[in-house]
Symmetry: C2
Subunit: 306 residues, 2 copies
């Protein structure tokens, strides 16, 4: 049998999904499903290989590049679906198999982070109102879920300054490791953004800031109190040639590019999107020490499939 | 760009999912997610192999055996999630990757088919009320979705008689091939059940009818007008020893059994469940010639991953 705590977490999990989906449906987003088995992107996909008849496939890491086709054809879209990562990470924050709330629409970067903060705020409000019993069992007061918009925004540059001031040996251009992310997150009392990461530290499909081309129009959203990153967002490159150029810079082979770029033919309106890691959101909301506790049958590196 | 028809189908798809989920939430079902990467069940799993670090995994074919743990701990549950099948089928009815609406709860066989027919009926009603535009684009009148409960029930024995009468060379104990399924389905004007299949023609985890042990407490639900099977249901064996015995009869090796049986420890109350193939439900509702048309980026045998 599951513990009383696990049952409460799984009930909160169901309420979070329902709250997110209701908000998205009510705000005109169409629910879509991308494929799970994908061709390879690049030489060493960070996901698991699948024996797909006589071909190699890879388990999806998210809705790209299909998000682009969906947005061009259906407008504002979202998906709640499994995604996979095969990094050999032994932490309390990494699942190899997780669920992802992903949103995509035609809009600019500044607008997509507004959507993301509204969605998170709505989920917290609904839980405060409807999940009092389960939260009480987890020793969480509904006050702990009080969240205000707009979320605080820390630029990447300001985050670097903060870390250097506090004695971290970090230089501009570097990605934050867990210690740094944790440290920054401890100084906030509610979810917040870190924005405008250096282009080289970000996924290749993010657009550069036209005013400062060394920065990308991307953000991480972090949970406070030491929980750290729960999602990311950004404006996407929609011009085929610019994207192809970025893929060459990332050493993605021509075959991988060709498949990917096929999905980018529809239009070149601005497009942005975000993803939330469902289990990390649950980990913060339920104040769980390990992300494994956010899922009934967790899949992590170095443990058996059970 | 997608065709106008494809866009209409994808909008109907989103409405079907939403209608099903709302009904399940309103009727006290808790939404759950089982794992996607599973250990092997038996020697030749009918699903795709995944290179999971240094282990072999297989993509899920449905919520068993996890459904059992979920029901024991959470009561009535459902999931809407991807599932996989690796048969080399070139038909207009088989996807290798499809989405599955699956329900499980503590109840007897006769009660679970009542739940299944209520859910299908609700989905059809909501579509008639809310999807008139998309259905009109697909040349479907809302009358075509008029469904009455209780659904007609044809026993397997009666289906055999019907087929023999109509000249099919079929004997008792055989599974129906597509020609037979299609023929039976053409004589109905709304969804209906075929119940009580021979034990040997069914999945090993279904319970036998106590009054006629050669029959299993299982059913297929079929769409009318030649569309055929869209889902199945049944009462599950919950006693560990009886299930182990059935697994031995099906030549499932001890290692595969051990993992599976671990999930059956919680209780032995009666348990039943059903699954609906989302794309097959869409294929019937949208009157599509090929199930591929029910999904944005279909995965079928013998086609490239795109």
């Amino acid at each position: 049998m599951f513990s009383e705590k696990k049952i409460a977490v799984l009930r909160v999990r169901a309420l979070i999904i329902d709250a997110a989906r209701c908000w998205l449906n009510q705000n005109g987003y169409v629910e879509v499903q991308g494929p799970i088995i994908l061709p390879a992107i690049g030489d060493q996909p960070a996901s698991f290989e699948v024996k797909y008849f006589d071909k190699k496939g890879y388990l999806t890491q998210g809705l790209q590049p299909y998000a682009h086709s969906f947005v061009s054809n259906l407008g504002k879209v979202f998906t709640i679906a499994p995604a996979f990562r095969s990094e050999k990470m032994r932490t309390r924050r990494h699942l190899t198999e997780y669920w992802r709330i992903q949103v995509a629409q035609q809009c600019r970067f500044d607008d997509i982070i507004k959507v993301q903060e509204k969605l998170i705020t709505h989920v917290c409000q609904i839980l405060s109102a409807n999940a009092a019993d389960a939260l009480h069992l987890l020793n969480i007061s509904t006050d702990a879920l009080r969240v205000k918009t707009p979320f605080p925004i820390l630029t990447y540059d300001a985050a670097i300054e903060l870390l250097q001031r506090d004695g971290f040996g970090v230089w501009w251009g570097q990605n934050f490791d867990w210690g740094m992310e944790n440290h920054i997150s401890l100084s906030f009392g509610q979810p917040f953004f870190i924005t405008r990461f250096p282009v080289n530290a970000e996924t290749y499909f993010h657009r550069s800031d036209p005013e400062k081309p060394e920065l990308s129009l991307s953000a991480d959203v972090l949970a406070p109190q030491g929980y750290g990153e729960i999602g990311s967002s950004g404006e996407i490159i929609t011009e085929k040639e610019a994207l192809s150029q970025k893929m060459i810079e990332e050493n993605i082979d021509v075959a991988g590019q060709r498949w990917y770029l096929r999905h980018m033919e529809c239009n070149s309106s601005p497009q942005s999107g975000f993803a939330l890691g469902l289990e990390r959101l649950i980990q913060w909301i339920c104040r769980l020490a390990d992300v494994k506790e956010a899922v009934a049958f967790p899949r992590v590196y170095d443990s058996d499939l059970l």
